[in-house]
């Protein structure tokens, strides 16, 4: 590494670093500043007022509900799937790993469409929902209602936790767990005492990524949620405010956006801390 650094001329270094900094400034930093700038263009009191409207508060509630459920469901799945994929060898493992990653590679709009085709009026699932409603005398709706929003959020964030844990467990190997199992420890005990300490940080980071994506999901939820003030999430509220077109509502849209920007920045900072801790642990093991 050190020698590589010496070999390159100072001029190349300066040119490449300058290109990088300019690119990042133009493409990422200026947009970031402009969100804050736009959100404050009508003053601080307007900023706080636009965060407290009824629509925004309702959207905040729905968003938090969907996010918490998505984080819990996907954490549970993430641990199960990671344990399965890293501790055992079986046929079709690669296929399973690929299937879990599906939500990364398809358009969120298609995810929304998929739930409409399943539980909507034409979907096969709607018959079952109707029967359940008839039987219990309830009125559960999935599409264009809160359960649909939650399902869509779970769908798009599905692989986030497992994806963070799997590489860590793969690097760790399975000798420790095997030794513990041979000495008679139960599955849960092995997980709690041996596996979990290794994946602690990766697990936390997975949950954070899942949360940040769930808070900001737009395309999938947009297909499944149509009532402002009832089933709208924050990004949908931002969309509605921005498209209203008046200067005030556009400023409000940026004010609501700024909350999500602060969360995004917090996520990035936590990511750096987690990475730093992981690196330190690695050095600790090596020394």
């Amino acid at each position: 590494m050190q020698e590589n650094k010496r070999k390159e001329s100072k001029a190349t270094q300066i040119v490449l670093i300058t290109i990088s900094v300019l690119f990042i400034t133009l493409m990422l930093v200026i947009p970031l500043i402009s969100v804050i700038n736009n959100s404050l263009s009508e003053g601080v009191s307007f900023y706080f007022k636009s965060l407290q409207t009824e629509y925004v508060l309702s959207a905040l509630k729905i968003t938090l509900l969907a996010t918490v459920i998505a984080a819990v469901v996907n954490s549970f799945f993430g641990i199960m799937a990671a344990w399965l994929i890293t501790k055992f060898s079986f046929k079709g493992k690669q296929l399973l790993a690929t299937l879990i990653d599906i939500p990364f590679s398809i358009s969120p709009v298609i995810a929304g469409l998929a739930f409409i085709m399943t539980f909507g009026r034409l979907g096969w699932g709607s018959n079952y929902i109707d029967k359940i409603n008839e039987f219990f005398g309830t009125n559960i709706q999935i599409v264009f209602a809160i359960p649909g929003v939650i399902l869509a959020t779970v769908f798009v964030t599905f692989p986030f936790v497992s994806r963070e844990i799997i590489p860590v467990l793969n690097a760790q190997g399975k000798e420790e767990e095997e030794a513990a199992a041979l000495m008679g420890a139960s599955g849960f005990m092995i997980f709690r005492k041996i596996t979990f300490p290794h994946i602690k940080w990766a697990f936390l980071y997975g949950i954070i990524l899942c949360t940040s994506r769930a808070l900001g999901e737009f395309g999938a939820v947009n297909a499944l949620s149509k009532t402002r003030g009832e089933t709208f999430t924050l990004p949908l509220e931002i969309d509605a405010l921005y498209l209203s077109g008046s200067n005030d509502s556009i400023t409000s849209a940026f004010a609501v956006s700024s909350i999500l920007v602060f969360i995004a920045i917090a996520v990035i900072i936590v990511r750096n801390i987690v990475e730093f801790k992981a690196k330190k642990k690695l050095e600790h093991i090596e020394s």
């Binding site: 590589n4 493409m27 060898s89 398809i106 969120p108 469409l113 034409l122 199992a181 990035i268």
Partner: protein, 284 residues
């Protein structure tokens, strides 16, 4: 032979508990949350006759949307490969003030909600915006054009490329480089003949991921693109959403099926690349 036997042994009697439980739960959740909804799309689209299917997906505006989405994603991914390569190189090889900040900022498009990115870019590049105003004076119109669309796709695609190249560059064995240097190759020649071939799979993976994301992108592009059929700035995701709003489920699923097939091939392509890459590193 002996190794084979041991492998077989482990496969039969797993020492670590929990195989059945984790397999059951993983498959159940995967099936209900991911697979069943997607199968519903397939089932519905297979109800269409082939001629009907082709009639629906080959309408003028839908073909235009596919053209726009693919073209802009390809251009954005190429630009991202170029700058992503430089960024990864700078972050791995050099030390400078603010390096960690730069590294953290790369993650921003992952962490920022797409709708927020969308309205921000749209406002920024509008005729009165911070960047749009000087560009308009120069005679360059960005918002409501394919150029704007491409800029939005560059924004969301850059971390995919950087994060694909970075680890490979970090683990690159320096002895080939040193050998090339000692044998008298120039720096440029060393880069193009020794380093670049090693990075090619990672670069292609990054390209594939950015392209896959770009072609299905919705939130960050719909505001800046203007979604005009005449100007051909409608993207495929926008068309699907539009068909859903008109309750034209036949068209929506037909287009979605084409998109799913494209995604499938990109995923296959990336998986093959990654298997090649792990074979290569194991080989070394």
């Amino acid at each position: 032979m002996k190794g084979h036997k041991i492998k077989k042994y482990i496969r039969k009697d797993r020492v670590i508990p929990g195989f059945d439980l984790t397999m059951g739960i993983s498959l159940l959740m995967l099936s209900f949350i991911i697979l069943l909804p997607l199968v519903s799309v397939l089932v519905f689209s297979f109800k269409l006759t082939p001629t009907e299917f082709f009639r629906l997906v080959t309408k003028e505006n839908i073909l235009n949307a596919f053209r726009t989405s693919i073209l802009c994603s390809v251009i954005a991914s190429f630009i991202n490969c170029f700058f992503g390569m430089i960024l990864a190189w700078v972050l791995v090889r050099y030390d400078f003030f603010g390096k960690r900040l730069l590294d953290g900022l790369i993650e921003l498009p992952f962490a920022l909600p797409t709708a927020v990115a969308g309205i921000t870019l749209s406002k920024l590049y509008s005729d009165t915006g911070m960047l749009g105003k000087p560009l308009t004076i120069l005679g360059l119109k960005v918002s409501y054009t394919k150029l704007g669309l491409t800029i939005a796709l560059i924004f969301i695609g850059i971390p995919f490329v950087v994060r694909a190249i970075q680890p490979v560059l970090e683990n690159l064995d320096s002895q080939y480089e040193e050998a090339a240097y000692i044998l008298g190759a120039s720096k440029a020649k060393t880069f193009f003949k020794v380093i670049l071939p090693e990075l090619r799979p990672a670069l292609l993976t990054g390209f594939g991921l950015a392209f896959a994301r770009g072609i299905g992108e919705y939130g960050s592009v719909i505001y800046i693109s203007g979604n005009s059929a005449k100007e051909q700035t409608q993207v495929v995701s926008y068309i699907i959403m539009q068909k859903l709003n008109y309750v034209d489920y036949a068209s929506a699923t037909a287009i979605a099926l084409v998109m799913l097939i494209i995604s499938f091939f990109i995923l296959l392509f990336i998986n093959i690349l990654q298997i090649c890459q792990s074979r290569r590193t194991n080989h070394v």
